[in-house]
Amino acid sequence: MRKALISATALAIAATLLAGCTSGLSSSGGATSGSDDKTPVTITMWSFFTGREKSDVDARLAAFHKQYPWITVKQVGGQSDDTLLQAVRGGTAPDLALSQNSDAVSSYCATGTFENLQARIDSSGVAMNTILPSTKNYTKYAGKQCALPVLADVYGLYYNTSAFAKAGITEAPKTWDALSADAKKLTTFNPDGSIKTAGFIPFLDFFENNVSTVGAGWGLKWYESNGKAAMGSDPQWAAMFDWQKKLVDWYGYSKLQKFVAGLGAEFSAQNPFQTGKIAITVDGEWRVAFAADQAKDFSYATAPIPNVDAAKYGSGLISGTTVGIPQGSKHPDQAWLLAKYLATDTSNLVDLTLKLRNVPTTTASLKDSSIRTDKQFNVMLDIAANKYTTSVPGTPAGAAPRELLTKFAQSWEAGKVSNLHSGLAQVAKQIDSQIAQASAGNSQ
């Protein structure tokens, strides 16, 4: 009898828990007051900024407060995309959030993690054509725009000018084969055969060398028009991996790995490029600020990455920070005002560009001459403004496609893939099923 009582209670508890837990957390936002509502309110904005950068952004938030005195913004820094996702799932989402992971934003649009902003965009008359069209790829999915870009990263070639001079190279390589040749000339070895300084690290999972940044110079098609992954069908993928492997094999995979394992951390003062260990790298525009800060006497130059198509030389990859209104935001209307300000206000973007040293994302701000501060940075700005600059198309699977490709690249570099074409076809299929898995159940 007692046992029956216990099991009955157990079942009852289980049933209640189960019933309550299978629903989603779709808590509607707070009062749907329009932007005309001027009651003083404090909204929270999450970002990944810390330290100096966070204070720079705080200054902009103060400027925003001057424009909209009834809205006070509290910035919570150090939040990654992971923490944002967990907060949204956990029902503790902030009012506004900055996302650093442009790979994932499309999945936010697809699942509703970020609110669909289309209606707001249309009714607020935001001049969407000032925003760089290349950012659309990572702020929109299936016709739903759920984020606005706020500053972006562009990637180009950084090269050590003194090393170039010593090796007799006069200009930055414009083709991938030229890059290989230069890399070989710039590499020096220790007496025991190990690498002393490397011309270029051909790994596709090293610092900012990855499938996206390097791939931007190969004219890669990521997805067919029907949404299927195109790694197996587009021959450019095989071409890129072939080129890369040849350079890896020239160095020796083992030797390269040992060399890389002993390098300093990317954002520390021991950054291998800044300390002369690597002569040419693919890096983002922020490197200019870091170099100025950590290696004042280091002489280097920037250039666009090589391109298979000479006409498209000068372009590169753009990806970046986005801002969106998470599901569960308690003050979506006020958050929208802040989002609009951050993404389109020219003075805001110019100031952030000067402080954070990323590139701005509207044509208006790119035209502003005050941001053209040093020649290395100007090259990056030109890349951002270049009409052929692309971004990687987003999918509901978020970061999964890039992670799967990176894993493939790692196997390929190590020589574990026997047939490149079938390997690529397999990765494409994997990506397809991951996307299918992620889309199942999503309201498109």
């Binding site: 629903s23 040992k258 699977a397």
Partner: protein, 328 residues
């Protein structure tokens, strides 16, 4: 007559009263037992039975925690078998590691414990020293090992180089990554050493003496006297070892995220190098808590649960056989 009936009645009344008192005591004690057990019982229901049941349900749905769970039938299981290429690697890795690591760990612990049991002095100090690495939190231990096994600048490779031996890439080479992981787990085997040491010391002296009188040397004594005596403890340690290796998570996670070269703050590289560090729990974590594929993660949990159950049953049955074979 009245006196007899009165006596009889009296006895009945007393008996009934005593019976009632006993029943009251029993009910009170039943209530007491329930009260004492209640925290554990509630815990069992909420944190053990409910999740198992809920997992079963979720595994048939597509659930990303943002929207309601959508019934998806066998879609998750189909994805596990057909679509998710990683799960094959994860399964193989987990099983291979389990099959290799558990015996190696046990043999090492047994070896050390038996030598320690026979030293005359200082066994306490040895025991403490061997236990020290176990005190390290797994994250710290893994960090230390990735540093020590750094293929370029680590001390191990430096020593190997000085000896003229080949220097493997350790955690950057899928062929060696698991060896590194094995070394790491053996490093933390202090618990088992202490348990086996205690068990070995409990082997009754008389048995050892009898065997010695019969002319058995050290090895024979170990095999025929010590080993059977500590067999139950060995089996218990095996079960624990198997269960722990089936659910290994922290060490491979830290290895992959520290050693993987990619930049960025997210765990891009789970399983690095080339999925050799991808264990079942990592896939579960990645699918469930980074991709928020909760339904699929629940399906994976069911598989892990089934595997653990199977292994435990098999081993427990072996234990029981061992007990019966011994005569208890």
């Amino acid at each position: 007559m009245t006196s007899i009936t009165a006596e009889v009645h009296g006895r009945t009344v007393d008996a009934r009263a005593r019976g009632a008192a006993r029943r009251r005591r029993r009910n009170r004690s039943r209530l007491t037992i329930l009260a004492f057990l209640s925290p554990g019982l509630v815990g069992l229901v909420v944190f053990f039975l409910y999740p198992l049941a809920a997992n079963l349900y979720y595994s048939f749905t597509h659930f990303d925690l943002m929207n309601s769970a959508v019934w998806a039938g066998l879609a998750n299981y189909r994805f596990m078998l057909n679509g998710d290429r990683q799960i094959g690697d994860a399964l193989v890795n987990t099983l291979v590691f389990c099959v290799i690591a558990v015996p190696v760990q046990l043999l090492f612990a047994l070896g050390v414990a038996s030598v320690m049991a026979r030293v005359r002095s200082g066994a306490g100090i040895y025991r403490t020293l061997f236990y020290l690495p176990t005190l390290l939190p797994p994250v710290a231990a893994t960090l230390a090992f990735t540093f020590v096994l750094n293929p370029g600048t680590g001390p191990v490779n430096a020593i190997l180089k000085a000896l003229g031996l080949p220097q493997p890439l350790w955690f950057s080479d899928p062929a060696y990554a698991k060896s590194g992981l094995l070394m790491l787990t053996v490093w933390g085997i202090g618990n088992t050493i202490v348990i086996l040491l205690a068990a070995t010391l409990e082997v009754p002296v008389e048995l050892q003496e009898a065997a010695q009188l019969d002319g058995a040397n050290g090895t024979k004594r170990f095999w025929h006297v010590t080993l059977p005596s500590i067999a139950p403890v060995l089996l218990f340690s095996t079960i624990i070892g198997v269960i722990q290796s089936l659910q290994i998570f922290t060490q491979p996670y830290v290895v992959s995220t520290i050693v993987g070269n990619g930049s960025g703050t997210t765990a891009d590289n789970l399983g690095y190098p080339q999925n050799s560090m991808l264990f079942f729990t990592e896939v579960l974590y990645q699918q469930g808590f980074r991709y928020f594929n909760m339904g699929y993660a629940a399906a994976l949990s069911m598989v892990l649960f089934a595997a653990t159950l199977l292994v435990t049953l098999v081993l427990v049955r072996a234990t029981r056989r061992q007990f019966h074979g011994d005569g208890g």
